[in-house]
Symmetry: C2
Subunit: 503 residues, 2 copies
Amino acid sequence: MSALSPISRAACIGGGVIGGGWIARFLLAGIDVKVFDPHPDAQRIVAEVLANAERAYGLLTGAPLPKRGALTFCASVAETVADAQWVQESVPERLDLKRRVLAEIDAAAPADALIGSSTSGLKPTDLQAELTHPGRLFVAHPYNPVYLLPLVEIVGGAATTPETVARAKAVLDAIGMKGVVIAREIEAFVGDRLLEALWREALWLIKDDICDVETLDDVIRYSFGLRWAQMGLFQTYRIAGGEAGMRHFLAQFGPCLQWPWTKLTDVVDLDEALVEKIGAQSDAQAGGLSIRELERIRDENLVGIVQALKAGQGGEGWGAGRLLKAFEQRLWAQAGAAPAADTAAPLELVQTRVSPAWIDYNGHMTEHRYLQVFGDATDALLRLIGVDLAYVEAGHSYYTVETHLRHLDEAKLGEVLTCTTQILGADEKRLHVFHRLCAGPERREIATGEHMLLHVDSKAGRACPAAAPVRAALDVLAQAHAALDRPIVAGRSVGLKAPAPAA
Amino acid sequence: MSALSPISRAACIGGGVIGGGWIARFLLAGIDVKVFDPHPDAQRIVAEVLANAERAYGLLTGAPLPKRGALTFCASVAETVADAQWVQESVPERLDLKRRVLAEIDAAAPADALIGSSTSGLKPTDLQAELTHPGRLFVAHPYNPVYLLPLVEIVGGAATTPETVARAKAVLDAIGMKGVVIAREIEAFVGDRLLEALWREALWLIKDDICDVETLDDVIRYSFGLRWAQMGLFQTYRIAGGEAGMRHFLAQFGPCLQWPWTKLTDVVDLDEALVEKIGAQSDAQAGGLSIRELERIRDENLVGIVQALKAGQGGEGWGAGRLLKAFEQRLWAQAGAAPAADTAAPLELVQTRVSPAWIDYNGHMTEHRYLQVFGDATDALLRLIGVDLAYVEAGHSYYTVETHLRHLDEAKLGEVLTCTTQILGADEKRLHVFHRLCAGPERREIATGEHMLLHVDSKAGRACPAAAPVRAALDVLAQAHAALDRPIVAGRSVGLKAPAPAA
């Protein structure tokens, strides 16, 4: 069993964009996944989604992911689900097809396996009607891209047991997703209800030439789209209501409901002419960017947005960023049980990738991001000697008082960065460390960082000796590292007296 | 006339949350604003919105804003609009009231003044019906918070001239907003049409107990809200359609239009019971956070999201972030014409604020953000000596090769940071600078940065002498700074041999 997740074996029936997203989520959480998809290109499609997912996930978090689960393609539904703890069905959106596939799953899966359906609209009561064990069937409706958007709507049908819903939510929460339980089943649940209402209105606006698709998209992404990335509809309106709050807002805007402000008393006819109109406008909007390019831009934007939200609410994190932060804390916690460090060489404590937000207009990694990676490496070293969250919360920590950086080469977007750390010296209050940052699989040296840290009583705001266990752990490392070659550039200062750096 | 904007005098009739947002946008763009609002608390409300706007804007961008415009409260509509180039009407949403106020504006404003209405739903043809000069009336519909969300829907009525629409868009674009022209007028335009459709569906979901308001908000902000902050509805679905694109997507999802996926064939009755239900659920969702606290969290989140989007598309910027980036470039360009630097003291090139994204879990400014501010100061120095965008694009630049940082004190969220810069030395290829970072109005010294930069041929990837005009500008500064006291800590290196830093 993965230390992260309550399950270690999943089965995915259907490996399209949604199924592939589920596969990626499970594998990246350290869960083994068996897949059945009769489509001739299934393995290629899954591989493509997985590649996107790994790239995006690598940019999203530098926390230590568990060892990736094993991926196996199977020849039948029965073989795929035979030992699964969670079976996720993501076949096309037809009730008869889903019922047939779910019956096959139900017959072959262990009796206590959870069975989730990715349906975006069918009611779980209708899906489970003919199962032998209907109690473990539920809807688990995710959003594309599944590997980045955390939401999963969990919907139970008439026969679904409360235990099933609770177990499903626990698994989703454990692997970094946001399981939201919908109280009562209804076609299309909550998200697609909202999307469908807006979508129908949007089709009218295009059909009636009020605007084109690019204008409509701009209206969304320069206004309420920005709002909804962090607060939803009601919380946003609560603020709009001002001090008087929600009830005031409703009183003020309630009358609009009687105004002719939507065309939704009628449904647009999506005929050939309208399809072609939207298709042509969408082509123009894309401005020559391919689906693959748009996908990459979208993923990098989503990464940046979630990382921005991680800094929300005074650093506590907000919404999807807070979720990520909590997930990373669990990842770090489980990484704490890592094997003892090899002390015969500098420590390799941080491996990360150059994130899109780290790139400047020259396409290079921005200067201060080097210091960010060195800071992460210092934090990892501190955790290793026992300066963990509990130690810091109890009022002690190490603060950096001095830093010396050398820049030797450039790093590019997406490159793997590896940081090695050597302790140059330590006493009861001070810690002198040297980091070396390398890029790419060839480990090209791109920068070094030399730092002096001071152990402090953070409440009193002054230096004090480190706790005995921390000093002991530090001494072991410092003594081992004393045997290593000292970097020849250690102790170097900035100045024109030094020879000019090599061109 | 402000160098930034084609207008320098605006009038705002109505100073509530929306009117106050307009006032802030104009003032921060260097435009003088006269205000009329008969509400007894108008001055207090405007001051509050302005304070929020200045705080948020200061966090959003470190680019040099023009000198803030002058704010004047007037006693009548006529006095307010007498010399205005743009009049913005933001009075309550009643056709009779708006018509009366617009007639007053029309009678007293200069004949070539633009008149925008903030209405969120009334048709401009209805608003302009009784004006003497109806051709200059248009809808300019912004979104709350107006000082952060860039969108303004520009809607002309039957009598609005194309020149009016073009002039309005030019002003909005110049001050950093996103003017989007709606092709045909319709009640509620585009944004509020979409919002209203979704809102009506949402009210049904709450009334029918499918979910509560917190669940509904979570469904939005953990899924499509994140998508819509950067791409709208159609671009998102284009990607979902995969390689086959938009037409494929429409073919696949078109049939859903016939399914009972919304309740919008009917309108919910927002009776007292439903208002109370939503009010109570909204109170629970807020978890004790006041409107002011939520507002601040929202603003900081929006700042972080827009800044994240500024790094999108490989550093070119995407959506609202690209808009900000282009605006900042114009701000920097106009700041280029600033008076010559005083060389009798270290240069004061950067003043900024501690942004929410810069804060770590201890509530302090994160280490690498110090280097970011020093990097900004170095960039400002380089622009001052002629290393501007054109110089860099022509293939030459200065790269930092070495840095020495000292941390002396902490900075807190929102504190003003001032960075002073002294040139310690320079030759044909090298530039040795020393930055001192101070926090708060008392200019508490919190850090120093000493840097060696090398002038490079960025295509060849090697050092080369700087261009003659750059060297000349640099020499003038370097000679003046040679007369200043040299920082005693310059040339210092990291090491345990040095005395322990003061506790």
